[in-house]
């Protein structure tokens, strides 16, 4: 079984080395690729010094969704059986990769999300962000007829068929995680959540300030609304 761990990075020179080391230690059966969104620091150099393949964008694609496109394209081209996404800030514990990949490899689900809100242990994000996520999860539950507790989680595993499908059909107007989930749902792939424990960032600060969290939720709601219109009409 070919397994890929795709690490999304933007200016994470301080933490990417530790993330790669931890991946090698706790998930040695996963190939590692770092998707760099045109970092301006030494992120790429750190990756290459560790002997890890680094796919670096020539220009920054804005949010992280451009990097999702890239690792999906890469995973599809290399024919991986499972593609897992992690962040480069050290929040995601690689020891959970096996738990994420297992339902995908056994055919139970097309997409597995590592949710920090099932067992509610470990790093739970800021209060405002949690409120936004809860409100939005309610909306998404109605849309997908399935409870999703942590739709913003960047800790995911995609099955081979889903990777191939998304690599062909991924569009930028699928603005956020919610739209991707809606697309997965519409394509009749099963979505599963497994409990994970997340950690605070090793270094730096999150791109999601209080204001950005609210704006993100508003834009994500709009994208779900548009999806509903398309589905209805």
């Amino acid at each position: 079984m070919k397994k890929l761990a795709a690490v999304i990075a933007y200016n994470e020179e301080e933490s990417i080395g530790a993330v790669i080391d931890e991946l090698r230690e706790k998930a040695p059966d996963f190939d590692i690729v770092v998707i760099d969104n045109a970092s301006t620091d030494m992120t790429v150099e750190v990756c290459r010094s560790k002997g890890v393949r680094c796919i670096s964008h020539a220009v920054n694609t804005g949010s992280s969704f451009g990097t999702v496109q890239t690792y999906l394209q890469y995973g599809a081209a290399k024919n991986y059986d499972v593609v897992c996404q992690l962040d480069a800030d050290g929040q995601h514990d690689p020891s959970y990769l096996a738990a994420l990949a297992a339902p995908v490899l056994s055919g139970q689900a097309g997409l597995v999300i590592g949710s920090r809100f099932i067992e509610k242990v470990g790093f739970q994000s800021s209060l405002l962000r949690r409120v936004c996520i809860t409100l939005y999860s309610f909306l998404l539950t109605k849309l997908l007829d399935q409870k999703i507790s942590d739709f913003t989680s960047g800790f995911k595993a995609y099955g081979k068929d889903l990777v191939q499908s998304l690599a062909r059909n991924y569009r930028r107007e699928f603005y956020d995680n919610a739209q991707i989930l809606a697309l997965v749902h519409a394509a009749k792939f099963r979505i599963l959540e497994v409990p994970v424990q997340m950690r605070p960032r090793l270094h730096g600060t999150s791109e999601f300030s209080a204001t950005r969290s609210v704006i993100f939720m508003l834009k994500a709601s709009l994208s779900v609304f548009c999806y509903l219109i398309r589905r209805t009409c």
């Binding site: 796919i55 964008h57 020539a58 694609t61 394209q73």
Partner: protein, 131 residues
Amino acid sequence: MTLYLSAVLLLGALVFSFVSYKIIQSNVVHPIFFSIWIAFCLFIISIPLLSFLYKWLATLSGMESATNLIWVIVLAYILFYMAYITVFAVNMYNKIQVLISRLAIVESELHALRLEQGSSPAAPDARELTH
């Protein structure tokens, strides 16, 4: 419409059409955009020449005056054009996103090949060229 006003409008329309035609002729413009602008220039020229037709159409459609009809046509044209441009821009964005991803993947493959072959110095990657 007085003769003087018609003449001024016709002159203005011809100048506008001439300038527009020169712009689209000297640039590589997609046939659809070319056609849209030619159609708009013809519409502008037709206003002073066929004012009786617009008056009749305005009466037929229940509008107060031909001026309102002309404004409706112009606004409708702008809205349709904007909608078309929006769709066009989004499609271009999607294609650019795919190109960014594919370029990054190809570049990483080249880098891996160079390392395998032990060749040096490494060619500059796309980031270095753009920064």
